[in-house]
């Protein structure tokens, strides 16, 4: 006898209905079906070692909520954490749209049946195109790291298609260490990623060193972040692009999207490929689950051919003024052509693309400008206030920063970790401890603000640090 287990997610678990299906197939039990196709020695004899089911929806909600309630969120404590994941205002309509069942549960329907989804994604790419001043914008990738990885490989392919066997990618040694290690592993069989040192006094890329590396003639691409992982603007952006081009290298830049209402897009500073993360554009923190990447370039065939993701294209129709959309040129991709593809890819982050579209449409140029403005003002305030503290040096490189600032605790006699633990007592998440990622910097932390950070929170932080470091 098979157990009868009637569950709301399984209509045919009702014994009578199940019996009808079995009768139709002329079998006595489902077991009879699978025992006819799965060899005996492979059948799992035991009962899966899983906890017994929670009976009702209410009990399930209570159970999971009880677990999640062990968390303390950034709504409860003031947070100065960033490092690739940023807490911004999420307009209510972003949540409204991405919880719509139609979008939430759609998948890979096509041009005619999922016209709305296709338009929403094309609109997302179009608005990103405006924000970045780029003609070509990819479908969303997993995250910034994936976008950087793919941009690197694109550059190598672009060089190779032009008959140049160049495989070195130059990156600043201050770049996001997680993304560096991701890219290093991802590109290992096609490229060597080399770190170019920063000028110790300024943090900026050492241009003399960059030039020397470029002169070797084997550089496929030069990459920079703006702002850098450590928060400061790379003021030499244009010069980096110029140098890269002088030596026939591709210039790849990763901007912070939340800065682009006020800061110039790398596209306008000579970059060829621009990539990064759209999490700041309407995605909640979600413990790092809201990340989604983009890759963009100019409308140049040699670049477009090398995009490793789907691209949504617009198509005229037989009706004047009506457009349709389709996933196009997918012979470049692993779905389209198996291992002849450039790189693999799969189900990525479509819903976040649509959400970012809603965000950008809501913000408009004015909203994006004000976003950048508030962040700049808040960060500057925090920097000034932190520097009032003894033993604390905020912005040790003395640069202009966006959203994040390096805070040096080396003279405080305490480690960044100790300070962060002490801040928890004050209901504050201190900046990200960098002592493990950048041992050369000693005891430093990366402090982050956004337009949501209040003066009160910043003042409270300074007060708390004052007490902790007393």
């Amino acid at each position: 006898m098979e157990r009868s287990f009637v569950h709301p997610y399984m209509p045919n678990s009702v014994p009578e209905v199940k019996q009808q299906l079995l009768d139709e197939l002329g079998v006595k039990s489902v077991r009879e079906i699978y025992e006819s196709i799965i060899p005996k020695d492979l059948l799992y004899k035991g009962r899966l070692d899983l906890p017994e089911p929670i009976h009702s929806e209410y009990e399930l909600k209570k159970h999971v909520t009880d677990i999640l309630n062990k968390n303390i969120s950034t709504e409860e404590y003031a947070s100065f954490l960033g490092a690739g994941c940023y807490k911004h205002q999420v307009p209510a309509i972003c949540d409204e749209i991405n919880t719509r069942g139609e979008f939430l549960t759609a998948y890979c329907g096509d041009t005619y049946s999922d016209h709305g989804k296709m338009q929403a994604i094309f609109e997302y790419a179009s608005m990103m195109g405006e924000l970045l001043d780029a003609d070509v914008v990819s479908y969303t990738t997993y995250d910034a790291g994936q976008s950087v990885c793919s941009s690197f490989r694109m550059a190598v392919r672009i060089q190779s298609a032009a008959g140049k066997e160049k495989s070195v990618i130059l990156v600043p040694d201050t770049m996001n260490p997680d993304i560096f290690s991701q890219a290093d592993a991802y590109c290992r069989n096609v490229a060597e990623i080399e770190k170019v040192p920063h000028v110790p006094e300024t943090g900026l890329l050492d241009m003399k060193e960059l030039k020397e590396r470029l002169e070797k003639g084997n550089v496929a691409a030069v990459f920079y972040e703006n702002p850098s992982y450590l928060g400061f603007f790379e003021e030499q952006a244009e010069e980096i692009a110029r140098l890269a081009h002088q030596y026939d290298a591709v210039c790849i830049a990763q901007p912070q999207v939340s800065s682009l209402g006020i800061a110039e897009s790398p596209m306008n500073l000579g970059a060829d490929i621009v990539c990064g993360d759209i999490q700041p554009l309407g995605m909640h923190l979600q413990y790092g689950g809201g990340q989604a990447g983009f890759i963009a370039s100019r409308q140049k065939l040699e670049y477009m051919e090398q995009f490793p993701t789907y691209m949504y294209g617009i198509a005229r129709t037989d009706k004047e003024g009506a457009y349709g959309y389709g996933r196009a040129m997918n012979y470049r991709c692993s779905h389209g052509s198996r291992e002849k593809a450039n790189e693999y890819f799969g189900t990525e982050t479509g819903l976040w693309g649509i959400t970012a579209g809603v965000y950008l449409a809501s913000m408009g140029p004015q909203g994006m400008y004000e976003l950048g403005e508030t962040i700049l003002l808040n960060l500057n305030y925090l920097t000034l206030r932190l520097n009032e503290l003894k033993g604390v040096k905020a912005n040790p490189f003395g640069r202009s920063n966006f959203q994040e600032v390096l805070v040096d605790f080396n003279d405080s006699g305490k480690t960044a970790g100790e300070i962060n633990r002490a801040l928890l007592e004050h209901r504050i998440f201190g900046g990200k401890d960098l002592s493990r990622e950048f041992p050369g910097l000693g005891q430093c932390a990366l402090y982050c603000v956004s337009e949501l950070t209040t003066q009160g929170e910043m003042d409270a932080l300074v007060d708390a640090l004052g007490q902790i470091l007393r």
Binding site: N330, Y331, S337
Partner: protein
């Protein structure tokens, strides 16, 4: 206006149903007719030609008189121009009604087909649709080469060539797509034929005769998660790159015929005999279009030998069709492990659940070759296929 040529071989396929295995040669045709055979190729052509009405405003159809095309056009209600048709006739006739101008002997010959194609070319035709079989394809090839785009409506007994659509309807559909500008790519397809004399005696001996250029149907937009979308040429480019990148030094390469091996040779920057065997050593062709004897003689001087072949014909011959010069003895001396087989991924998909063949004329060597073999289909990309 797009100029389309239409030629029907009215006797194509006539021998099939009365068991004559083909219809090449006037005697055979006569015999078939005596046995009560019916000329069906016109009917097949009509299925395709009817569809051209969808784009009739955009095309001018050039065809031949009577059963070689005009009748089909009339039945389809399609306007046409005559581009000559009998072996003697010369000037182009303009006609909406057409007139019966049977060619010599009441049925047509190869010469008629070739002649028609020449006139199409003279009239500026860019796309030739023909109804017939492998024999007709050969005639077209003789006259047209790979300059003009061609598509076969399958109507003969023998359809081994790759120049035919799957069925007449699809031939018509593809022609319509072409006219509408929806077919972008073209590719070279094999013209194969068997020796009918041998065939009638029960021996199948197909040969690679050459190539015609056909529209490449591979569509680039597909449903998500499906999508065949790279072109056949892309696959050949990649496998060529792979073979060239892994070319071994101090090794004699015996390079078989076919357009795939030709592409590899082009990548290598070497001249090539399309339908013959070339020998290459250290980036140099040391002998062209060799006979078996020449190959064996040159082989003696080299310690390391590779045989590079592609898959020929719809039935999939690695050896014995189009490369008989690479004989049983050559293979025996080179060794199975030194055979490099390469073909496009698309082509290899025809061999899912079907074997490739090696017919060297030597049963022992055939047995030696039997078993699984790797076929290169892309860059570092192989499929395992059984060889019979």
């Amino acid at each position: 206006m797009i100029r389309i040529g239409l030629v029907v071989n009215p006797v194509a396929g006539i021998g099939g149903k009365v068991g004559l295995k083909g219809s090449d040669g006037e005697d055979t045709v006569q015999k078939a007719l005596e046995l009560g055979a019916v000329m069906e190729s016109g009917q097949k052509a009509l299925i395709a030609v009817r569809l051209l009405n969808e784009v009739k405003e955009q095309i001018t159809v050039y065809t031949c008189p009577g059963r070689m095309g005009a009748e089909v056009c009339e039945a389809a209600g399609l306007c046409y121009k005559l581009a000559g048709g009998d072996t003697a006739g010369g000037q182009e006739l303009s006609s909406a009604g057409g007139q019966e101008r049977p060619s010599a002997g009441g049925h047509t010959t190869s010469q008629d087909t070739r002649c028609a194609v020449e006139r199409f070319l003279a009239a500026g035709v860019e796309f030739i649709l023909f109804a017939g079989g492998d024999g007709t394809a050969r005639d077209i090839m003789d006259a047209a080469g790979t300059e003009v785009l061609v598509l076969g409506i399958p109507a003969g007994c023998k359809i081994h060539s790759g120049v035919f659509a799957l069925d007449p309807r699809r031939a018509g559909e593809l022609a319509v797509r072409y006219v509408r500008g929806k077919v972008r790519g073209t590719k070279e397809a094999e013209v194969m034929d068997i020796d009918e004399e041998e065939f009638r005696r029960g021996r199948v001996q197909s040969r690679l005769y050459g190539y015609l250029r056909i529209p490449d149907e591979a569509r680039m937009v597909q449903n998500l998660k499906s999508g065949s979308a790279y072109s056949e040429q892309d696959s050949i480019d990649r496998l060529s790159d792979y073979i060239v990148d892994n070319w071994e030094p101090e090794t004699l390469y015996i390079v078989g015929g076919g357009s795939t091996t030709a592409s590899i040779m082009r990548k290598k920057g070497l001249p090539n005999t399309l339908l013959g065997i070339d020998l290459v050593y250290e980036d140099r062709v040391i002998a062209s279009d060799c006979t078996e004897r020449e190959i064996l003689k040159i082989m003696e001087k080299y310690a390391r030998i590779k045989i590079l072949v592609t898959v020929i014909g719809g039935q999939g011959y690695l050896f014995g069709r189009g490369n008989q010069q690479i004989s049983a003895e050559v293979i025996r001396r080179a060794g199975r492990e030194n055979i490099i087989a390469a073909a496009s991924a698309d082509k290899m998909l025809n061999f899912v659940g079907r074997p490739l063949y090696a017919d060297t004329g030597d049963e022992e060597v055939n047995q030696y070759l039997a078993g699984y073999m790797r076929v290169i289909v892309g860059y570092g990309d192989f499929v395992m296929v059984r060889v019979n």
